[in-house]
């Protein structure tokens, strides 16, 4: 079942938007405007846009630390995501979280985490709440090939499988955990087979093919909503940059990046739209330009937004206790 032209165009825009967003973040990180370090997801746009695009707004999404794209697509205004990454007061979390901890409960972006494997068990909770409250919300948790080394993945999948919790484990296999290739740290040729031990259905998906991603997630979501339990989807993809912005990624063999760039998910969709759906290049360029403008506006918003009042550091530590400020 192929996606309609309209849907594919939407997803194309989403992917372009992610690309432009990440490029802007990279620029402002490199010139020192954005504090701290950031993890970019250029090259992985299809997996992010596809997962979020296949889910409902009421589904729980746990993007990971390389998740700007997914976060922007959950429903939070991009300019407020950008301002958060800039550490400004208008950031969606008031500057408390930054790049790695951007959350927005209103669109069920639960993406709080800089710790690999941590949300993999937290996701049990939102899934459990769906069954407890008898709602049809599913939970999608993003993880990477590196995440699978964490013991929590075992605990989570074991419990989700036993209790038939509605979880989709979205494993974006981008080949490297920082510098270590997944074949050097895992015995399986294909990581998805790891779920076989828990009798959890699993699929290997071309993570740069937006249609394949969307369809796989829709299948998994349907199973979950029917009460048939979790699914693990392994999206084969590649991150074009180093682990963080500024990492030269010298650990990659020559030619590997170039080979993956040939499989660019955006170019692929563009080709499909032009060849199958009859879109013109000018039409798509126009969409690209709109994305450029949108991101430029988001950056300007972030630049213009003031720094938070330092005293905000004391807010929201507890729901029931005000923390003492002895400064």
């Amino acid at each position: 079942m192929a996606l309609t032209k309209k849907r594919l165009l939407e997803l194309y825009c989403d992917m372009v938007s992610i690309r432009k967003f990440e490029e802007a973040v990279e620029n402002y990180s490199k010139n020192g405007t954005i504090p701290g370090f950031i993890h970019l997801s250029i090259g992985q746009e299809a997996a992010q846009a596809g997962v979020v695009g296949a889910l409902k707004k009421t589904d729980y999404k746990f993007p990971d630390h390389r998740g700007h794209g997914a976060i922007c697509l959950c429903g939070t205004e991009k300019k407020r995501v950008m301002a958060e990454i800039f550490g400004k007061v208008d950031g969606i979390n008031g500057g408390r979280g930054g790049s790695m901890h951007i959350n927005d409960l209103s669109c069920r972006n639960m993406g709080f985490n800089g710790i690999q494997g941590s949300t993999v068990v937290t996701a049990l909770g939102t899934a459990f709440a769906s069954t407890y409250k008898k709602t049809d919300a599913v939970t999608a948790v993003f993880m990477g090939d590196g995440t699978l080394g964490e013991g929590t993945c075992h605990e989570s999948m074991n419990m989700a499988a036993t209790w038939k919790l509605p979880i989709i484990y979205c494993l974006l296999n981008n080949q490297y955990a920082i510098s270590t290739h997944y074949t050097e740290s895992h015995p399986q040729k294909q990581l998805a087979t790891w779920a076989d031990g828990y009798e959890v259905p699993n699929e290997v998906v071309d993570g740069n093919d937006i249609e394949a991603v969307v369809e796989a997630v829709e299948r998994a979501a349907e199973r979950a909503r029917k009460g048939e339990g979790p699914t693990l989807l392994e999206f084969m993809t590649y991150r074009w940059q180093g682990h963080f912005s500024g990492d030269p990624a010298a650990y990659r063999p020559d030619g590997e990046l170039e080979a993956w760039q040939q499989k660019c998910p955006i170019n692929r969709s563009r080709k499909q739209l032009m060849e199958i759906h009859g879109c013109s290049g000018a039409e798509l360029d126009e969409l690209d330009a709109r994305a450029d403008a949108e991101i430029a506006e988001a950056v300007q918003f972030a630049l213009d937004s003031p720094w938070p009042d330092p005293k905000n550091a004391l807010k929201h530590v507890y729901a029931t206790v005000q923390v003492e400020d002895w400064k």
Binding site: S106, G125, A127, E155, K315, T320, V321
Partner: protein, 325 residues
């Protein structure tokens, strides 16, 4: 109406009443449902509410992770850590998730979980089932650490903990489970973050929790015969701490002895001592003394275990030394 209940039974009653009171409350943990808990604390709940009492795999991370995630969705999980020592295998969930939810969501979500953890030494189970874990959790802003000492406190504080919107680690001392005391039948709350002045006195302030209060009271009685008045304070909530009550007491007595189970290094006694000397050094008449376990793992043999922990004589010696300073 009140009648005598054990500490264990008081906790069980609180759980039953809160399950009854609020349908968003559920319990989970290893052997908490069918069997009613390794220490029998959750007995009878599964029989009444089979869907709301869940036996889990031996997966502490999953237990706490599930609790955190479901709490964000509005549920009120009460998880059991069969032994507090097992906090090490779910530490990430408590520290990096539970304690940060409210902060990260800017107050839009909170994390109303209760983690019941069976703490302390004295049952001859050696170093993996006997540790006093308070300090491991006491510098994690966002967490609340509660340590009730009596059946009355255990029931009231557990109900408060369940109704509280922040993550609470509820410490239950295994040697107190059989302790009996007056407990009202009806549900009631005891204010968290409020220390209890258990005994009034003018000469020494002793701060102690849980089982250590027994030593404090015995020493106070002894010292009374010597004309020394001991004021005993049970912080009850260890973190965030009710500093005011301790400060006012020490400002009056000028002398502080902290009695603490667990190693001395970086224990909560160190925090209380530092806090007092920082805030009211001017009022002190003697150095602050800590009476603690030795800085060693808890050993198995009764002879070894008992040597490690403080006794009443240690408390007395500390009190006499501050009186004669």
């Amino acid at each position: 109406m009140a009648r005598k209940l054990s500490y264990a039974k008081a906790i069980n009653e609180a759980l039953h009443q809160e399950m009854e009171h609020d349908p968003s409350v559920f319990i989970l943990g290893e052997d908490v449902a069918r069997m009613g808990g390794d220490f029998g604390i959750t007995q009878g709940i599964w029989h009444k509410w089979p869907d709301r009492a869940r036996d889990t795999a031996l997966s502490e991370s999953a237990i706490i992770g599930l609790s955190v995630g479901s709490a964000v969705c509005g549920l009120r999980p009460v998880a059991e850590l069969m032994f507090a020592d097992f906090v090490t295998v779910c530490y990430d969930q408590l520290v990096n998730n539970a304690a940060k939810i409210h902060f990260m969501y800017g107050g839009e979500a909170s994390c109303p979980i209760v983690v019941r953890a069976v703490t302390g030494s004295g049952i001859r189970c050696a170093y993996h089932h006997s540790q006093s874990i308070e300090p491991w959790l006491m510098n994690i802003p966002g967490l609340i650490i509660v340590a009730p000492a009596t059946p009355y406190e255990a029931k009231g504080m557990l109900i408060s903990a369940i109704r509280n919107n922040d993550p609470v680690v509820f410490l239950e001392h295994k040697l107190l489970y059989n302790r009996k005391g007056e407990v009202p039948v009806e549900p009631y709350e005891i204010e968290l973050f409020k220390a209890e002045i258990e005994r009034k006195g003018d000469d020494i302030t002793i701060v102690a929790t849980m089982r250590m209060l027994d030593l404090a009271h015995a020493a106070a009685k002894e010292l009374e015969n010597e004309g020394v008045g001991v004021e005993i304070i049970d912080p009850r909530t260890l973190f965030p701490l009710d500093k005011r009550t301790i400060i006012e007491s020490v400002a009056k007595t000028g002398r502080l002895v902290v009695v603490q189970e667990g190693p001395k290094v970086m224990g909560f006694g160190a925090e209380i001592g530092a806090m007092v000397s920082e805030e009211i050094f001017e009022y002190l008449r003697a150095p602050i003394k800590r009476v603690t376990s030795l800085d060693v793992p808890i050993a198995f043999s009764p002879e070894l275990e008992d040597y490690v922990n403080p006794t009443m004589d240690h408390v007395l010696a500390a009190c006499r030394s501050v009186m004669s300073f």
